[in-house]
């Protein structure tokens, strides 16, 4: 083995990683084929829980895709050199995650073969329809933005493109939050705080994904990140985590204050079995408090701690979305306030949901697509952050 140069193993590893990603994506495609053939009966979703695990994956990817651009915006819009050097990588991750998330969302449709209908029949009052424009606009804008960074002749337009991306991603995540904010019928949703909450969550999730990928790229290239840069970025992650905790707390506190919402809050925060467990242990403790400790506690905050914190933030994000999307649907609609209600259609009952293997494969397939796009791009183009000697700015 020692007769081979190190590059040989790296080449090998690259192809192994790519094959692994391809295998997961293929498994996702198989799940889609099965769901297309048999119908959604083979998923765990039903008429009570109409959006399931695929939507958790898709929304995480789309929200993180917007949030990761924060790194680019701090560079291009606010002129911080450390971040500007990372803008290309952030843009690439954004495109990759958006592609993965949208693929999952699209392939979970009851009739994915009719996707063209979504483009040809446009309902102006539907926030879903707005999102079709927002997502495709984001794709195009980020590609132009990348072009202005990677093609020297386009450099003069970089500031303008950066500003456009900055504005667009705020609108995009507002759109994602509005999908739920416009649902007045359900206790969990229909709140104006959701769009800003999703924006702040996107900051944390996007930066966490960025940290993980950056660490891997540095390790791959046998480089180590300047500790001063690491310190700045981990502190930023800490601030974003505190911000998102504040938004989530405000969302629940306002609900608790409204008498007609308190039954739902008691369900989601205390009595709902898996949902309060995932919320408190998954999101609050593992997804926020532990990462905050890893970032801020004296003696910690080194590269490995930041990597672990980032991974925990991502897992916490999935936990929060599971509680928000599935827990939000599991709690029954309140059709007759003040009455005990029962029916053959689950009225007055907590809905049951067991994700099936096919749904999970579809979700992981989306992650695999993002992974493949990132891995191939990082290999064929230069996305390694090029730092000038570090000067605090």
């Amino acid at each position: 083995m020692s007769s081979h140069p190190p590059m040989y193993f790296k080449n090998h590893l690259y192809w192994v990683l790519l094959a692994a990603g391809g295998l997961v994506a293929a498994a996702g495609m198989y799940a889609v084929h099965m769901m297309e053939h048999h119908g959604h009966i083979i998923s765990g979703m039903n008429n009570q829980i109409v959006w399931g695990i695929p939507h958790v994956f898709a929304i995480f990817l789309i929200v993180a895709a917007s949030g990761v651009l924060n790194v680019a915006s701090i560079g291009s819009v606010f002129g911080k050199a450390v971040y500007k050097a990372r803008a290309p990588l952030a843009s690439l991750l954004s495109i990759a995650m958006l592609a993965g998330g949208l693929t999952v969302l699209m392939l979970d449709l009851g009739r994915p073969d009719r996707i063209i209908v979504a483009a040809t029949n446009y309902n102006i009052t539907s926030v879903f329809a707005w999102n079709v424009v927002l997502y495709s606009g984001m794709f195009s804008l980020v590609i132009v933005y990348l072009w202005t960074m990677m093609e020297r002749r386009m450099n003069p337009y970089n500031k303008a493109a950066g500003l456009a991306v900055f504005v667009w991603r705020f609108v995009l995540t507002t759109g994602t939050g509005l999908i739920f904010a416009f649902l007045t019928a359900r206790q969990a949703y229909g709140s104006a705080i959701l769009p800003p909450m999703f924006i702040v969550l996107s900051f944390a999730w996007g930066l966490a994904v960025f940290h993980m990928v950056q660490t891997v790229i540095y390790a791959w290239n046998e480089k180590s990140l300047n500790p001063d840069i690491l310190r700045r970025k981990k502190n930023l992650l800490g601030v974003f985590l505190l911000g998102s905790l504040y938004m989530v707390a405000t969302y629940h506190l306002t609900n608790l204050y409204f008498a007609h919402q308190s039954a739902f809050e008691h369900f989601i925060l205390r009595d709902g079995g898996i949902y309060p467990n995932l919320f408190w242990w998954g999101y609050v403790v593992l997804g926020n408090l532990l990462p905050l400790a890893l970032i801020y506690l004296p003696g910690l905050g080194k590269e490995r701690c930041v990597m672990a914190a980032s991974l925990l933030v991502i897992l916490g994000g999935f936990a929060l979305l599971y509680v928000f999307i599935i827990g939000g649907q599991a709690f029954p609609l309140n059709l007759f306030p003040g009455f005990d209600v029962s029916s053959s259609f689950g009225d007055g009952q907590i809905a049951d949901y067991q994700p099936s293997l096919y749904e999970l494969l579809l979700g992981f397939g989306g992650l695999a697509i993002a992974f493949i796009i990132t891995t191939v791009s990082v290999r064929v183009l230069n996305f390694m952050p090029q730092d000038k000697p570090y000067i605090a700015d």
């Binding site: 008429n47 009851g110 209908v117 926030v127 059709l335 007759f336 259609f345």
Partner: protein
């Protein structure tokens, strides 16, 4: 007559024949489907008044009639379609019990229509809220938006459909107010099947209709009236 004229005559004959052959099946199918050439009028607003005091607990006749009329299986698993369901409610404060049917409320301002990305969910001029099965992409956003949980998603392939009520795997569906019967001048199946005549169907806009007269004389409510959707289905005795 020269050769060109004969050729032209032959060509015209063939063309007319081909056009007739092409159009005739469509005309016949239009007849079979009980199609009407004139559109519906917005002067009409179809609705129902449900008298909960006359609705008996345990009676499921409206549900059975709906299933038969629309070709639904009648099964009640979480993945099965239920266009109409009986809800039993009990007042927590005084123990008063009521039973009532719940279905699409055919709102004047339907949230399902607002959120549908492809405009597959639509409201007909006469107030009936429907899903265009050819346009629905199966995103289920309307099911998230409906305050009455009135919609079902078709989770499995379907067989033995009623030709008047096309349905489709992977699309969303709900009570159509038996639009195919209304267009033939009939009442919805549930209204006709109710043994106690608890479901009065008619034109809310016609001051002389039975439903409009009854709405003037009895106290009625809309479920979740606070949402301001102005439902076409009203309840008496709630």
């Amino acid at each position: 007559m020269n050769e060109i004229d004969i050729q032209r005559r032959g060509f015209l004959k063939t063309t007319l024949g081909a056009a007739a052959v092409a159009v005739a099946p469509g005309m016949l199918l239009f007849q079979v489907a009980h199609g009407k050439s004139e559109g519906v009028s917005s002067k009409v607003r179809w609705g129902m008044l449900i008298d909960t005091t006359q609705c008996k607990e345990g009676c499921n006749d409206c549900v059975t009639a709906c299933n038969r009329e629309n070709g639904l299986s009648g099964e009640t698993k979480a993945t099965d379609s239920q266009w109409i369901r009986k809800i039993e409610i009990k007042d927590v404060s005084n123990g008063r019990e009521l039973s009532l049917p719940m279905m699409c409320q055919h709102c004047e301002h339907p949230p399902c229509v607002d959120v549908c990305p492809t405009a597959a969910s639509f409201k007909r001029a006469d107030g009936i809220v429907l899903v265009d099965k050819h346009r629905c992409i199966g995103c289920r956003y309307c099911m998230m938006a409906c305050p009455y949980k009135a919609r079902s998603f078709v989770h499995e392939p379907l067989t033995d459909q009623n030709p008047d009520v096309p349905r489709g795997k992977g699309t969303v569906e709900s009570c159509t107010l038996c639009v195919h019967r209304i267009d033939q001048g009939l009442k919805p199946a549930c209204s006709e099947a109710c043994p106690n005549k608890a479901i009065v169907f008619g034109d809310l806009n016609d001051a002389n209709s039975e439903i409009a007269q009854k709405l003037r004389s009895v106290a009625s409510t809309q479920v979740r009236a606070e949402l301001g959707l102005n439902t076409g289905i009203r309840y008496q005795g709630l």
